[in-house]
Amino acid sequence: MRLPIPNAIAARLEERSNQHVGLLAEFPDPGALYDAVKGLRERGYTRLDTFSPFPIHGMDRAMGLPVSKIGYLVFFGGITGAFLGWLLQWWTSEVDYPINISNKPLYAFEASVPIIFELTILFSALTAVGAMLALNGLPRPYDPLFYSDRFGRATDDGFFLHVAAADGTFAQDRTTDDLLGLGATAVEYVDHDGATLVGGADLAAPAPNADRAPVPVTPPHTTGDL
């Protein structure tokens, strides 16, 4: 059954699910990847992404990405936590169950500071993690990139550059040549049906796990057929 989704949202979801359809190129090291991103941007590509086992210093600037907005969200999360921490203590002691002890004030701000502080931290931290996951679209069990066998090295010692097919400058043959010209060692076309090698080194090239028998398998964390 299909839910009735407004066209604008449906288009956005469609675009998002196809975000990683396109050419996936492997580069030998972070330096080559960095230079390739600069090269592709000079050629007019915009829908790029790189994949590396660790964040590469300076890559955000090379890709033209602004600073993450998470800080602003966390600020509002913190404000919410502080307000709720104050409300909890003020309302319970001043409104809901006032207890008169030696005619002291029913509510004292000073004594409520520690809990206000702790709740500020709690809400900020939850916001930071939640915002990070939401902005990254995680959890995301299916990603067409997982069809590529060599892509498994992106979390080990592989450095990858992805050009989305949705990019205005994208043309499969020309983009493949661009990637190879910028030093890619292998280029694959990845879509929802799988990954096919379209240029560069053969998969038989020695992988670091060569001592372990390469098992050609369907990536496990995919839902299979779409």
Binding site: P30, M63, L88, D96, E118, I121, V129, L138, Y142, V215
Partner: protein, 526 residues
């Protein structure tokens, strides 16, 4: 125009770089390499991941069996105490806070080093933390779990422990928000939650690493389980961008949190009017003590783990030396606080304060007091000598005595102030019972059960972070091999960055082309 190789990239061969000894050892600790052994990225993955993938070694089963025995002791001690009530402990008038609070504060304090390493050192850009932060954060989580068991069961009727939380109930009553004990409930539980978040966020890329390794090896069940927990992480730079910002913010949040938690713990004492407790020095003094004991526990665990798991190139002797320096500093701070307390007791001219402190040092618990002084102030002073800072047996011994000393610190504070009440007719000598002792021993079972499970199933070193501090992680490292454009201004950041790696042994370069072997296999210098 200079040619960069890993031999000279960090100013190691004369010129404008950092001075080196004749044998090539870097001159200062700050110049020491963060990762030794000229490892490649894949080597790091391999070194850490393999311990989660190999067949469970016999040694692990033996250790786990011992830990489970401890856990069983814990279960018996807790069951007996819950069935009979807290009277089975040695608590009696006037000492109603005995081992339970001592152990609670001790375990919480140990936990603080994990947050300090993961958050405070991160904010200070101390990149050496990357090798030890994962295990230290795990230690935090498990230490907080152990700590929480003591107040939980000390309440006596543990089945109504939810009274401590602001949950609407049939009595229409709320917790007493003006009590430091309630602040503790919030502080410690939120501390545990935030530490867990911080640890898990740090784990996501590494879980993805072992997920992909499992997929390559064809272990589909394992890959699916890890795929669930790694949330579909791909290492996309668009993800790293948010990830790094979130991590920075979590570090910024955890830093004041850790300081507040032990301050709140110290308020349990300082807000009372008991002589010896009612002092404003308590929050900073407790925080320093927490860091002190926590680092000692990290050293204890890491000395064993780096040797058992053969990760001495990742957790180097330099890391241990840096931790020993922190132990020396915080131990001296704590010792200074002990002396300050005495001075203030005299200076205040309050006879109760003066009695409390004279009684500490020369009363019935003098043995505990001088154990504390020796372990916390005197023994760590051996770390002024570099040779001792870098000696595994000595640092292991000091790390153990530090935790003994810090346990006695809490014992001295808690018991000596209480056992001499305002009325001499109430005076008594407090001793624990077997149930106090068994529950404390049992928490070690709980701690090591959890820690051994962590070592077995989770990458014990932050793989992605360690790779990020290796010299070849920087894109500019490759310019010499690519276009030869590296020149003085590009090199400058390496040469001034105290954290930059100067490989202690020159990178092997069998074909003598100026490109180390581990780079050459990745990229053809032509």
């Amino acid at each position: 125009m200079a040619t960069v190789t890993s031999k000279n990239a960090y100013g190691r061969s004369g010129g404008d770089g950092a001075p080196v000894y004749a044998d090539g050892t870097p001159k200062t600790l700050a110049d020491a390499p963060l990762v030794r052994g000229n490892l490649s990225f894949h080597d790091v993955t391999e070194m850490v991941s393999v311990h989660t993938e190999k067949k469970t070694p016999l040694g692990w089963w033996i250790a786990f069996g011992a830990a489970l025995t401890g856990l069983a002791i814990f279960a018996v001690a807790v069951a007996y105490q819950v069935w009979n009530g807290p009277g089975v402990w040695g608590l009696t008038n006037p000492v109603f806070w005995g081992w339970a609070i001592v152990n609670f504060v001790w375990w919480v304090g140990i936990g603080h080093a994990g947050t300090l390493i993961s958050a405070v050192l991160f904010l200070f850009r101390q990149r050496w933390r990357t090798s030890i932060n994962r295990a230290a954060e795990a230690m935090t989580l498990f230490a907080v779990a152990c700590a929480l068991t003591f107040p939980t069961f000390h309440v006596g009727r543990v089945w109504v422990i939810y009274y401590t939380l602001p949950i609407p109930n049939q009595m229409a009553m709320w917790p007493q928000f003006k009590s430091p004990l309630l602040w503790d409930v919030f502080a410690v539980s939120i501390y545990g939650t935030v530490s867990l978040l911080f640890w898990y966020v740090g784990l996501i890329p590494d879980l993805a690493t072992i997920r992909d390794r499992a997929a390559r090896a064809g272990k589909m069940v394992r890959a699916r389980i890890l795929g669930f927990f790694s949330l579909g992480w791909t290492g996309s730079n668009r993800s790293w961008r948010h990830y790094e910002r979130a991590y920075l913010l979590l570090a910024g949040l955890a830093t004041p949190l850790v300081l507040s938690v032990h301050s709140v713990v110290s308020f349990d004492f300082a807000v009372s009017i008991v002589p010896g407790w009612h002092t404003t020095i308590f929050p900073p003094y407790f925080v320093a003590g927490a860091i002190f004991s926590g680092f000692a526990m990290v050293v204890t665990l890491m000395v064993v783990a780096r040797s058992v798991f053969d990760i001495k190139n990742l957790i180097t002797i330099d890391h241990l030396e840096k931790m020993n320096i922190i132990i020396l500093v915080t131990g001296t701070v704590v010792g200074f606080a002990y002396i300050t307390e005495f001075f203030i007791a005299w200076y205040s001219q309050v006879e109760y304060e003066q009695f409390a402190f004279a009684n500490r040092a020369f009363g019935p618990y003098a043995w505990a007091y001088w154990t504390m002084m020796a372990c916390n102030l005197i023994f760590p002073q051996v770390f002024w000598v570099k040779k001792f800072r870098r000696s595994i047996p000595i640092m292991f011994a000091i790390s153990i005595t530090t935790n003994i000393g810090m346990w006695f610190e809490r014992f001295v504070i808690t018991v000596t102030s209480l056992h001499r009440d305002f009325l001499p007719s109430s005076w008594d000598y407090y001793s624990p019972t077997i149930w106090d002792i068994l529950m404390y021993v049992g928490t070690f079972g709980l701690f090591f059960t959890l820690f051994l499970l962590f070592l077995r199933f989770v990458p014990m070193v932050a793989i992605a972070e360690v790779k990020g501090v290796m010299p070849q992680a920087d894109p500019h490292f490759y310019h010499h091999a690519g276009d030869g454009h590296a020149d003085a201004h590009e090199l400058a950041p390496y040469q001034v960055d105290a954290n930059a790696q100067g490989a202690a042994t020159a990178a092997p370069d069998s074909d003598a082309d100026g490109v180390p072997d581990d780079v050459a296999h990745d990229r053809d210098p032509s």
